[in-house]
Symmetry: C2
Subunit: 385 residues, 2 copies
């Protein structure tokens, strides 16, 4: 069964699939994007912090530079996207405050500040009192912090809706189905087979289905490295109407070595997260996960106790062997990857969209994304290359 | 305007309304029971512990004696109900272990044990080692405990389903609507007005709508004392299939003065609770409530960390001025109450059903329930104790 052939067929409708669709469609390419009816993407679970360097990314300097580049593109990206979609994205520009709970945490934060300076991320070291002046609800125990005024946040659910609308306005078409297999013609990738039995055809195929990409069959051996599901448990909280928000900007804390964050939205919602667990495709909400998040948030901002829990969520971040994304063409003609964004999918959305569209239109990744080419990682079948 | 008249019209389909319906229908009375489509009852949130005396009931000795009487009726009650309904109730007879976390908690538990003995509740004092022999997953910090072999548990959701089926088999009829007003004829209560505009008529009217009873209009001044909503937040947990249950009987703990309990079901579910908060009709799940329950459960049984959270629930227990139920006829002819069961609705279900049916059939409460007559309290919200 052939439907209308597209230029680009994309598996996955998280932020990465959607931004690729939008940017490709803007260039006049005919795009079809396929994803299941009920989203299994990590994007709608994400908090939406745009912080290229944090305690969790030490030692991943190339990735942090790419993150900084993507973060720097965000203001223009949002302006263009909101204009094209007519849809708000919940972009907030109050910056990020990182705070330390004890002296060990403060030492780690000091190292982090130096790293951020090296990467060109503007930060300012703050005393405990200065931290509380910015965020009066912080616990008295907070020892000090760093403010990064240009590390903003976005609402990933609003971002997804805006990207979808913008892509559709450029003619992109969505198909609600699960992708089961890559199809080929004359040695080239030529489309995707769907669970319903149908197929969509196109001269470029982009796999952008996060941890679920590994379940798509028909890939050449060694083409796709293993993507580890890195489970994150989060909570969404609501501020009672008669109360001030407990934080007014993104607050990341290190509490006795454990990271925790609170990301506020304009409507009073607070996203509180997150665990990092490697347990396969397990998406269960656990006592231990929820308890640790609540414990650390309570240590940092005792006033969270009064907030309502409106939602609990679990997402699976797609972690590649080096924790960095795999972008652009593969050794199979016509087959592209946009996977492995791990904790950084939302942050890397603008740069990924630009790089993917350039690769789809011109055949090559731009210089700034070349470190993330799909052939950089040794795999079990390296000798085949 | 007049549809088929009933003998008994009941507002409320929690365990108290349902058991009254069943017991009245068994006596040949024609019963109609009215409750909203979506249950607002506290019963389906309840854990189902059948423990007449706990750290929370000190000083309420009359109530504890009534609870003990009701508990003692449970085995026969369950046998009869399961036979009549053909439906299991999740009744478990492994008893209850109460444990203390620190020396202060142990002192309180010792007092409780003495109280239980006075009430005729069989208990045995256990060392820490003996506690862990019964429940090997208890934290090493547990100092000692008391086992009450005859304090069992039931699954309130299964109990409700069984009561409904049994009542229907005796001809009771359910109406899905909200009760707005008591109706009268010749100075006697004669039925209930429904939100949809309809009404149901009967020569006896029983109000058994928990905290929502106060919203029913048309009652004589001072007839119904104020019922405080006592909010309880609980969690329902699932044991992974490859794991042993973390507890094999009801475990109640005192953790630095705060009570927490774990009630296991046959299917591996654990009910974990509960907060006690007086905040009006607020049913929000809060960070503080969930965090405290998880913290204390984790202190008591660290293995809970591995369990999945399958449900969060909030219920409003109906607390009367003296925390005891109000049962039977009122000074308005034809109008009866079965309200104010607070934390004890499930425990008091057998005794309440018997007492209400006797009062409906014979006009008077039996002796064992007379302490809970509706006219015992000075009108309004004046406290007796």
């Amino acid at each position: 069964m052939h439907t209308n052939d597209s230029d680009v067929v994309i598996a996955g409708a998280g932020v990465i699939g959607l931004v690729t669709a939008w940017r490709a469609a803007q260039r006049g390419l005919h795009v079809t994007i396929v994803a299941p009816e009920i989203s299994e993407a990590a994007s709608p679970v994400a908090a939406g912090m745009l912080t290229p360097a944090s305690e969790a990314t030490f030692g991943e300097e190339t990735l942090m530079r790419f993150g900084t580049l993507s973060r720097n593109r965000y203001p223009e990206f949002i302006t263009e996207l909101e204009e094209e979609s007519g849809t708000p994205t919940g972009y907030r520009t109050e910056g990020t405050l990182q705070v330390a709970f004890d002296t060990d945490d403060l030492a780690k934060l000091t190292d982090l500040g130096e790293l951020q300076n090296r990467l060109g991320i503007k930060t300012e070291r703050l005393t405990a009192r200065e931290c509380r002046r910015l965020e009066p609800m912080l616990a008295p125990a907070v020892r000090g912090g760093i403010v990064a005024p240009d590390d903003h946040s976005v609402d990933p659910r609003a971002l997804m809706a805006a990207l979808r609308t913008a892509a559709e306005r450029h003619g992109a078409v969505g198909v609600r189905d699960r992708v089961t297999e890559v199809l080929y013609a004359q040695g080239q990738a030529a489309g995707l087979r769907l669970e319903s039995g149908g197929e969509v055809r196109g001269r470029h195929v982009v796999l952008a289905a996060g941890v679920w990409t590994g379940a798509i069959s028909g890939l050449a051996p060694g083409l796709l490295p293993e993507l580890r599901p890195v489970k994150g448990q989060l909570l969404r909280l609501r501020t009672p109407e008669d109360q001030e928000p407990v934080v007014t900007r993104t607050v990341r804390g290190l509490v006795k070595g454990t990271p925790v964050y609170l990301v506020p939205r304009a409507n009073g919602e607070i996203v509180l997260g997150a665990t990092q667990e490697e347990m396969g495709h397990d998406t269960r909400l656990t006592v231990g996960g929820v308890w640790e998040i609540l414990r650390d948030a309570h240590e940092l901002v005792p006033g969270v106790s009064e907030l309502e829990i409106t939602e609990t969520c679990v997402g699976l971040r797609p972690g590649s062997p080096d924790n960095a994304p795999l972008l652009g063409p593969t050794r199979t003609p016509g087959l592209h990857l946009a996977v492995g964004h791990h904790r950084h999918g939302v942050l890397l959305t603008p740069a990924t969209g630009d790089a993917m569209a350039e690769a789809l239109a011109g055949g090559e990744l731009p210089d700034y994304a070349r470190a993330f080419a799909t052939d950089r990682l040794p795999t079990g079948s390296e000798e085949e290359r």
